[in-house]
Amino acid sequence: MSCEHIRPELTGFQFATLDPDARRAVEAHLLGCRACLEEFLEVKRAVEATDDGPLPSPASRARLRRAVAEELRGGRPATSWSWWERPLALGLAAACVTLALGALQAVSSGPGARPRGLADHEVRSPGGGHRAP
């Protein structure tokens, strides 16, 4: 292939978007054509220099460093449980719920406990009539 056909493909070659036949043709051409090889190397350098922009100012960096230090000093708590805290917390919660249910059961089934589901005015007095509200 001629230089005129190869040159437009150099960017695609750099970004690996060429189909296999076109890629092989470019590779073969670059091996034998110094001018196109130089052009490709310039394109490659230009692509790889994309990140060579300016840095933020030193003052900005210092400000950010102070903010990071502040954040690390405990500005905010961790957003979630650690791996070992999670089962511990779940176990503790389950134990509390079980204890509470057990206590409730003991109170509601003890001697003199009122039958469940009856309101005060429905509980009959020992004489058979309704207890006064």
């Binding site: 130089e38 990140d51 922009g53």
Partner: protein
């Protein structure tokens, strides 16, 4: 050399030297990426700050990411888009920053090669923002998987955008 993820863990344990190393490693490219969206340098610095602080505040999200680098770009990108949306204006920093047309090159191989690089730079400057960010991310060496994470799109979409970006550059460089 310590990985980004190892440095992040050190930082989260309070090691400010780890912050310095992460900053040295990523700040320049990340800042350039942010400037693709936000023309204002001070605003871009604010986004860069917030991006690093989010790393400290959303620890689990950062740890769950495929790569810290891609996650930082993702955070920065979301913040840029939020700012742009809230102001209802498009980011066309690249177009504004387009350098002047190159002078006519002499027919010398080295000069022709440099002219090609200059044509590429001009073509990149004319890319729409969406394709320009694909160019920047890919040029910085990100994998398709990392790009998919940053852009929040499937890998197939990443591939098609890269092809579109290269086609646009090809056409621009011919004209």
């Amino acid at each position: 050399m310590l990985s980004d993820e190892a440095l992040r863990e050190r930082l989260l344990r309070g090691d400010l030297d780890a912050f310095d190393r992460l900053y040295d490693r990523h700040a320049r490219a990340l800042f350039a990426f942010i400037r693709r969206h936000l023309a204002d340098a001070h605003e871009a610095e604010d986004v860069l700050h917030e991006t690093f602080l989010v790393m400290l505040r959303e620890r689990d999200a950062g740890r769950a990411a495929v790569s810290l680098r891609a996650w930082l770009y993702q955070v920065a990108r979301n913040q840029c888009l939020n700012r742009l949306r809230s102001r209802r204006r498009g980011a066309r920093a690249l177009e504004a920053a387009a350098p002047e047309a190159p002078t006519v090159a002499l027919p010398d191989a080295a000069l022709l090669a440099r002219e090609a690089a200059e044509r590429l730079r001009l073509a990149v400057a004319r890319l729409p923002t969406g394709l320009a960010e694909v160019y920047t991310l890919r040029a910085s060496g990100m994998s398709y998987e990392e790009l998919a994470q940053v852009l929040a799109v499937p890998i197939g979409t990443v591939k098609s955008r890269i092809h579109e970006m290269v086609s646009r550059l090809r056409e621009e460089m011919k004209s």
